[in-house]
């Protein structure tokens, strides 16, 4: 089995010197490069010679054991020689050839992109959440609490009785939630720049500002409704979900970036940012519904949270707080209406 010589160029090891040469596969499976006079330049057993992958029509590179290189544009000749040596030529190049089959690939890409965004990303997020050890949200939450206390928040000015009353009612609410009362720590703080606000950290640490309590006035149920909403964020692990999702989408865009060019990549990044806005709005809606269910299950007024949104919209609509509960929880008419309708359904259904 001696194949036809393949014509190309031979470079000595690590050198740019180019020698016109030809490649021969001998009887014992030895691959040899020879110059135009037939003088051998280098030889290596066929199974040990390193052959670069075939890509389009670019020159093929065969590296001998001594480091010298034979280059040839004769890709078919090299593939034939590889077959003679019982070595498999690459499969990927076969797929890449311009054939009608490529149209199927296009359809597959479109369908798979959609499927990944719709199903695989949420699935990976769930997997990541299951794999996250509890110590991660704990450490994160502790450091947030410390940095918030040092910068934005102030000590509470709420009276001991008020604190105790809210804490007791909150405890009865948290008892019903899956994590239980022990899974939550309620902190009272002066809101300072963040104003009337409440937020939850992923380990179950909740913060309630004096300003929010004052805003609700005599309507304690409304304060509990807001706390139930924050419990919803913790129970559904919204914060971790958002992070994993953002990272997953960024990762996907990064992987595909080199293939679509930097301009199209920027468009995707902007699109992803817009989608994440709508994603966090969905999370708020989810927490609202959770609050309604929890309040109902605790025998409280499920309409309280909707009432609080109304209060926010009327009292805070033109107040000076730039970064209040409003900016992260915009009480749009749709949202109030949705929550109210859901609360009425829940109240009537049970």
């Amino acid at each position: 089995m001696v194949s036809d010589p393949i014509v190309g160029i031979w470079h000595p090891p690590a050198s740019s010197r180019a020698v016109a040469a030809s490649l021969h596969v001998g009887e014992e499976g030895i691959v040899q490069a020879r110059d135009v006079d037939g003088k051998p330049l280098s030889a290596t057993p066929g199974l040990k010679i390193e052959v670069s992958d075939r890509i389009g029509g670019i020159v093929r590179r065969l590296t001998f054991l001594d480091g010298s290189v034979f280059e040839t544009p004769d890709n078919d000749g090299v593939d034939k020689a590889l077959k003679a040596l019982k070595r498999r030529p690459g499969v990927v190049h076969e797929l890449e050839r311009f054939r009608p089959r490529l149209a199927l690939f296009v359809i597959a890409v479109v369908a798979l992109s959609f499927a990944i965004y719709r199903y695989a990303v949420p699935l990976l997020v769930e997997a990541a959440i299951l794999l996250t050890p509890p110590v991660v949200p704990k450490l994160l939450s502790q450091s947030v609490m410390i940095s918030l206390d040092q910068t934005l928040l102030e000590p509470t000015k709420l009276s001991q009785q008020d604190q105790a009353a809210i804490a007791a009612e909150f405890g009865r609410l948290a008892e019903i939630a899956p994590r239980g009362a022990a899974g939550y720590v309620l902190n009272f703080r002066g809101g300072g720049a963040v104003g009337p606000n409440a937020f939850a950290l992923p380990d179950g640490t909740l913060v309630l500002t004096d300003e929010l309590v004052a805003l609700a006035g005599s309507d304690r149920e409304a304060v509990l409704g807001v706390l139930a909403h924050e419990i919803g964020h913790v129970e559904r692990e919204h914060a971790l979900r958002r992070i994993y999702r953002a990272a997953g989408v960024a990762g996907l865009i990064m992987m595909i970036g080199g293939d679509i060019g930097s301009g199209a990549q920027d468009v995707l990044v902007q699109g992803a940012a817009l989608m994440s806005l709508s994603y966090s709005r969905d999370q708020e809606r989810d927490a609202d519904r959770y609050a309604v269910q929890l309040m109902h299950a605790a025998g409280r007024d499920p309409l309280a949270i909707a009432r609080f949104f109304d209060l926010l919209a009327t009292k805070l609509g033109d107040s000076g707080y730039a970064d209040s509960f409003l900016s992260t929880h915009p009480p749009t008419p749709e949202r109030i209406e949705d929550t109210r309708r859901y609360a009425e359904e829940v109240a009537a259904g049970k």
Partner: protein
């Protein structure tokens, strides 16, 4: 640099003119591209490392000069490891920003100072993985050069509203091209400041005229819109309104953004000509670039819209079109044989830096 030095960078009549050519075709690259994308998606991104190697090998291998071609030698597994490291860093950074804005800010600052290191390693990796005629390139730039070229240069450009951009360009070209080595021989690149400033004039004029035209158009639209007496308050209060506002903001800023992109491209194409024309390889071969700035901007912008409006399908054609144009506008004047170069590089450097460059869209090729 004085005038005698610049006279040296003009090709002598005895030199051989060797044009770069690009031999790839959109049709051929389409197959490679769609298989890259398909396998990347099917493997949830893992194949992207192999895809990058195949893509780079296709483009480098089809870039031909004086009978030889370029090649790319990176091993996909190393690129994959680099990507995973970058992904983990991004994940940690995202989490930090989300939960601890303060610490996130500190990490951001630390990250900023790490950027020059990543850039340096990235350039070195790319150079060492690139060969021409069986000889690897190398890169000898250090941290502070990258600090000047990328951090300080960027701040200078933004802080001066572009007026000091030529200084930043001088640093950047000096760093990226001037620190490149072909085998064991140095490459020098000393673009002179006054020549770089010469490339600023036309883009600056385009910017001023463009901004005035857009402001006039915006004023016209505003007068028309206020005539319609839209009830903005009511729109604001609904969810649909939020998307409406976002759309309006994007539409209003898009023309300004496109103008900014256009001006940036006109300027950068000009500096490429200046920098290449003052690049000397091994003290004797000269590089030359003759890009038409408007033609370059037209190709880049029409490529972008073609890619977006075909949902990416025109990308192979667009990429090949740009590579072909850049190759035909580039020439090497060789002062003698290209036979006597020796490779000194072994496959050893880390790949994390190179991956960061990809993430930031800074990917630096030939």
């Amino acid at each position: 640099m004085n005038d005698t030095a610049s006279a040296e960078t003009r090709p002598a009549p005895s030199m051989r003119r060797e044009p770069f050519t690009f031999t790839g075709t959109g049709r051929e690259y389409f197959g490679i591209w769609i298989v890259n994308v398909l396998l990347t998606i099917l493997t949830l991104g893992i194949y992207s490392a192999w895809a990058k190697v195949r893509r780079n090998r296709y483009f480098y291998g089809n870039t031909r000069l004086a009978g030889g071609s370029f090649d790319y030698h990176a091993r996909p597994v190393r690129i994959l490891i680099g990507r995973l490291i970058v992904l983990v860093v991004l994940l940690v950074y995202n989490a930090a920003v989300q939960f601890v804005p303060l610490v996130g800010g500190l990490i951001g600052v630390a990250f900023l100072f790490a950027v020059p290191w990543f850039v340096m390693r990235g350039l070195r990796f790319s150079a060492r993985m690139t060969s021409y005629r069986n000889v690897r390139f190398d890169f000898s730039g250090g941290y502070w050069g990258a600090f000047l070229a990328y951090l300080l240069g960027g701040m200078l450009t933004w802080g001066s509203l572009g007026l000091l951009a030529p200084i930043a360009s001088q640093w950047a070209w000096n760093y990226t091209l001037g620190n490149l080595r072909y085998g064991d021989r140095p490459i020098s690149c000393d673009p002179r400041l006054e020549k770089l400033y010469g490339q600023l004039i036309m883009p600056a004029a385009v910017l001023i005229v463009g901004v005035m035209a857009l402001l006039a158009a915006a004023a016209g639209v505003f007068i028309l819109a206020s005539g319609l007496e839209l009830d903005f308050d009511q729109q604001l209060s609904s969810d649909v309104g939020l998307f409406g506002i976002l759309t309006a903001v994007y539409t209003a800023f898009l023309p300004f953004f496109l103008l900014y992109v256009l001006v940036g491209m006109l300027y950068r194409a000009g500096t490429r000509n200046i920098a290449f024309n003052e690049t000397v390889i091994d003290g004797r071969h000269l590089l030359a670039s003759r890009i038409s700035r408007w033609r370059f901007a037209w190709i880049a912008i029409s490529n972008f819209f073609a890619t977006v409006f075909t949902l990416g399908l025109a990308r192979p054609w667009a990429a090949v079109r740009m590579a072909r144009y850049l190759a035909t506008a580039t020439v090497l004047y060789s002062a003698g044989s290209l036979d006597d170069y020796l490779s000194t590089v072994k496959d050893t450097t880390g790949v994390v830096g190179a991956e960061y460059m990809d993430v930031e869209g800074l990917d630096f090729g030939f």
